[in-house]
């Protein structure tokens, strides 16, 4: 599978420039590597875009308040500083003025009305948007410290890397997510696609997005959920319709059955692995850990804690604490040979 590099739309570049400071900040960032900055100012889907537009408006208003009040303050500081020439006598005492005070009560009230109405409009537009028939359903389940994705209509279960189709005006196919949690609170946040929404046990939430640009979008868990909250990363692949169809087709296959790695499969099914992991089409039906049926279709392992290479896999199985201390998978005390066999087996799970 080809992994697309994320692309920044021209509009968002312009917007970054609008805010020279933030622009500078982002440039600092961009100089550091590939363009994988999950900037809230580079929206790529309707909800994120609505928020972005609203934020510009709010920045405009609060910015003007800042300029006027801070301007006055600076003026006062300079103009009314004590100078030796002022001598010892006290300035005129003023105790108040009803007119002035009324003015600076009423003006903020008007500003608040405007801000409130604009905000309310966007809240309803985003939160109560009607769900179209063509929408794709995904169930997201938060686990300490990884993501489970289920596509109920497509019969797919995967982890940590979400694939969704691009949604264009000709071919709208937004994704509607149901957010659940199996343990503690988490929060699903991919800034370029939508605002965050929490995953709370016993309290299902909804979130939708309609990405306009194919590519890879990064995010991560945004609600403190325990030791490895920092390494509960999220990757969302927005595929073209063809790519998505191909991916779905792949994922619907049962796990590969390669006789050459039967030894590894044997270890997998006799050691504890299968208590926690599923490989469809085999005995392994555990659900405590990520579904491994198509492990090799993922670019990273352990919720983005490492890239999916044989070396990392073996380090992971040997001791998950190696790069994710506190992860809930135990180190199984396997021999090097067993681990080699396991890695060989896992490497066939395309």
């Amino acid at each position: 599978m080809r992994i697309m590099q994320p692309r920044r739309s021209p509009a968002s570049i312009r917007s970054l420039m609008t805010f020279s400071l933030l622009g500078a900040a982002a440039h600092l960032g961009m100089a550091e590597g590939p363009q994988s900055i999950p900037s809230t100012f580079a929206p790529a889907s309707t909800p994120a875009h609505e928020i972005y537009g609203l934020s510009l408006f709010v920045i405009l208003i609060t910015g003007s308040i800042f300029v006027s009040v801070a301007g006055l303050l600076t003026y006062v500081i300079i103009k009314y500083r004590f100078r030796e020439s002022d001598g010892q006598h006290e300035p005129a005492q003023v105790y108040g003025s009803v007119q002035v005070e009324l003015a600076w009560t009423v003006i903020p009230i008007l500003i608040v009305v405007v801000l409130f109405l604009t905000t309310a409009r966007i809240i309803f537009a985003v939160q109560d948007a009607p769900k179209p028939k063509s929408a794709l359903d995904v169930t997201v389940i938060g686990h300490q410290f990884w993501w489970e994705f289920r596509y109920p209509k497509l019969g797919i279960v995967t982890a940590n890397e979400l694939h969704i189709p691009v949604s264009t005006s000709q071919r709208p196919e937004p994704t509607y997510m149901r957010l659940l949690s199996s343990d503690v609170d988490h929060s699903f946040w991919v800034p370029q696609l939508a605002g965050k929404t929490d995953l709370i046990p016993n309290h299902p939430n909804d979130l939708w997005m309609d990405p306009r640009q194919p590519g890879l979008y990064l995010g991560q868990c945004a609600q403190f959920c325990g030791v490895e909250h920092a390494k509960m990363l999220l990757r969302v692949y927005v595929d073209t319709p063809e790519q998505f169809a191909a991916w779905v087709k792949d994922q619907q296959q049962p796990g590969a059955q390669d006789e050459k790695v039967a030894a590894g499969r044997h270890v997998f099914e006799t050691e504890a692995c299968m208590n926690c992991h599923t490989v469809s089409g085999t005995e392994a039906k555990g659900t405590f850990g990520p579904d491994l049926t198509h492990l090799m279709s993922r670019a990273t392992i352990a919720a983005g804690a490492a890239t999916n290479t044989p070396e990392n896999l073996r380090a992971w199985i040997k001791d998950p604490d190696d790069f994710k201390p506190g992860a809930l998978m135990p180190a199984m005390q396997l021999s090097d040979e067993q681990i080699d066999q396991l890695v060989a087996y896992l490497s066939t799970l395309h």
Binding site: V58, S97, T119, V184, D185, T197, L233
Partner: protein, 562 residues
């Protein structure tokens, strides 16, 4: 300057009887019921914990200075930010403000002590014990089973992460118990302040003549009554869950983690105003005195404070825009939150108007108060940005929020605490703090503050979440985080200068005299430090600025006051 012209009530005497052996000295502090000594104890206690929690912040910043840094382990990092937040809010912010209230309220209203001096001492020791208990968790967190550990659940302690299943050991229990204990202390002090302001005022000190400082402390105490108690209740529920097997926040048994979130913020939001109103109180004394003008719009200031107190009780769910409330619910909390900006704006404008037309002396207290004005303006406006619910869906739990609240907590509150210490230190010790060190302190702290917290807004907008012990190098956050950390260390240097100033000036500082700032409220009519009984004869006042009337007999305030 005006020292000689100021009639002093009663004979000038030793403030405290001579020290005797150090054991006697210590004993006198432990058994004291004098509001001034207790006030000082509170402030010293809070400064101590400011250093501790500041040290924790520095450890956080070292860890985050580089991506994939290994300065501390994830477990320790989580303990660090939990302890940093909890300490700063409960063991620095609350005690220091109550310390000032304790020291100043009786003096300002012309009383000889608080309404209930023994309750006052008891409250302080409860608070102190709470702090001790929180830190005892480091050695006692897992009881006898092994090494200890500090609470690691965030200062908001969201359920169900706090359930026994997810945090075994006892560190969470220490967190809850310590805060319950210090919470009772806080409650006692609040009751005391209310009773003092309502029942102990000297003759002529009507409510509308009380210094604004006293007014704000009254409002804060009233808020404390209905704010700390919900937290106590929720923590008791948490302990019932953890020890008696209850199900308040247990999702498996039908309980709802959201209920905790509501309860926490029903406390948490008013709490932040409890922290900031005393900072306003300080500004209300410092800004007029150094601008040489009466505070502008006293009645409006009082009304705005009371207004803030009421509105702030209705806004808590702006911390919960992402938990999945209905659109109507979200809209309501957007509105109530934005409304808070109006009375707060009134305050800012009134301070501006107080300075307008004045002769502003930029001594160190005024420098800090001016810094506060700028920073609070910005902090308030970022607060308004957060109150825009859809935008908050992006900003929530990002470093933008961290930046917002440090702008208030450090930029406004800590700045004003510094202002207050420079302003009242002469009264409490009889010596001035060094102005030279003060200026160094101010400018370094200001620069460090802005380097750290301005930058935090940007990493937040670039998608960096809070509470993470490390981050990926490819997200564009590296340089910014390094800058933030550097700023943190500049702040630390400034705070060290401050600490040195406190100690050095205590022994070497310039003699202060009774009224070094030529101020107008009653505490400056007492010797520095004031004697145990404060006033030899009960003062009588006729306006909001009794000492102004005294210094300007031809043009007293009571002729003009509305």
């Amino acid at each position: 300057m005006a020292d000689q012209t100021l009639p002093i009530s009663g004979p000038l005497g030793e403030a405290y009887p001579s020290r005797g052996t150090w054991l006697e000295w210590l004993h006198s502090w432990v058994v004291t019921v004098d509001h001034k000594k207790l006030g000082i104890l509170y402030v010293v206690y809070a400064i101590f914990f400011l250093l501790v929690a500041g040290g924790e912040a520095m450890a956080i910043r070292i860890q985050l200075a580089f991506p994939h840094n290994h300065f501390v382990s994830p477990e320790v990092y989580n303990e660090l930010f939990t302890m940093h937040g909890t300490t700063m809010v409960f063991l620095v912010g609350m005690p220091i403000l109550f310390g000032f209230a304790n020291y100043l309220v009786p003096l300002m209203i012309g009383a000889r002590d608080m309404a209930f001096p023994r309750l006052n001492a008891f409250s302080f020791w409860l608070t102190a014990f709470g702090g001790l208990m929180l830190y005892f968790s480091i050695i006692g967190g897992f009881g006898l089973y092994g090494m200890g550990s500090a609470p690691d659940i965030g200062w908001f302690a969201y359920a169900p992460l706090t359930a026994k299943a997810f945090t075994p050991g006892h560190n969470t229990d220490y967190w809850a118990l310590a805060l319950i204990v210090s919470g009772f202390g806080t409650l006692g002090t609040a009751i005391n302040i209310i009773a003092t302001t309502l029942s102990m005022r000297c003759k002529g000190m009507t409510l509308m003549r009380m210094p604004l400082f006293v007014w704000l402390m009254l409002v804060v105490s009233a808020m404390t009554l209905v704010t700390i108690t919900p937290l106590t209740a929720a923590q008791v529920m948490l302990l019932i869950d953890r020890y008696l097997g209850g199900h308040f926040f247990d999702a498996q048994a039908g309980g709802s983690p959201i209920v905790w979130i509501h309860f926490f913020w029903i406390f948490g939001h008013p709490e932040v105003y409890i922290l900031v109103l005393p900072a306003f109180a300080i500004a209300n004394e410092v800004i007029p005195v150094f601008s040489r003008k009466a505070v502008f719009g006293y009645p409006a200031m009082v009304a705005a404070s009371v207004g803030i107190a009421f509105v702030s009780m209705t806004v808590w769910a702006h911390h919960m825009f992402t938990v999945g409330m209905t659109s109507v619910g979200n809209t309501f909390f957007v509105l109530s939150t934005m409304i808070v900006g109006i009375p707060t704006g009134i305050k800012i404008f009134n301070w501006l108007a107080t300075m307008w037309g004045g002769r502003i002396h930029f001594a160190t207290p005024m420098l800090f108060a001016t810094g506060f004005l700028f920073q609070f303006l910005i902090a308030g406006l970022t607060g308004i940005m957060l109150s825009v619910a859809p935008w908050d869906w992006q900003l929530h739990n990002s470093y933008f929020v961290i930046a917002h609240f440090h702008y208030v907590l450090v930029g406004a509150i800590v700045f004003n605490i510094f202002a207050a210490i420079y302003y009242w230190y002469p009264k409490a010790t009889g010596r001035m703090l060094s102005e030279t060190l003060g200026k160094w302190h101010f400018w370094l702290f200001l620069i460090g503050f802005h380097i750290t917290f301005d930058t935090m807004h940007f990493v937040g907008l670039l998608g960096m979440p809070r509470s993470i012990y490390t981050y990926e190098p490819d997200r564009g956050w590296n340089t910014l985080n390094l800058i933030i950390s550097i700023g943190g260390f500049i702040q630390a240097i400034a705070v060290l200068i401050f600490a040195w100033n406190l100690i050095h000036s205590y022994f070497r500082g310039k003699e202060a005299g009774n009224d070094p700032w030529d101020a107008w409220t009653l505490e400056w009519a007492t010797p520095s430090p004031p004697p145990a009984y404060n006033f030899a004869t009960d003062p009588v006042v006729r306006s909001r600025r009794p000492l102004w009337d005294l210094k300007h007999p031809k043009d007293p305030d009571w002729k003009y006051e509305r």
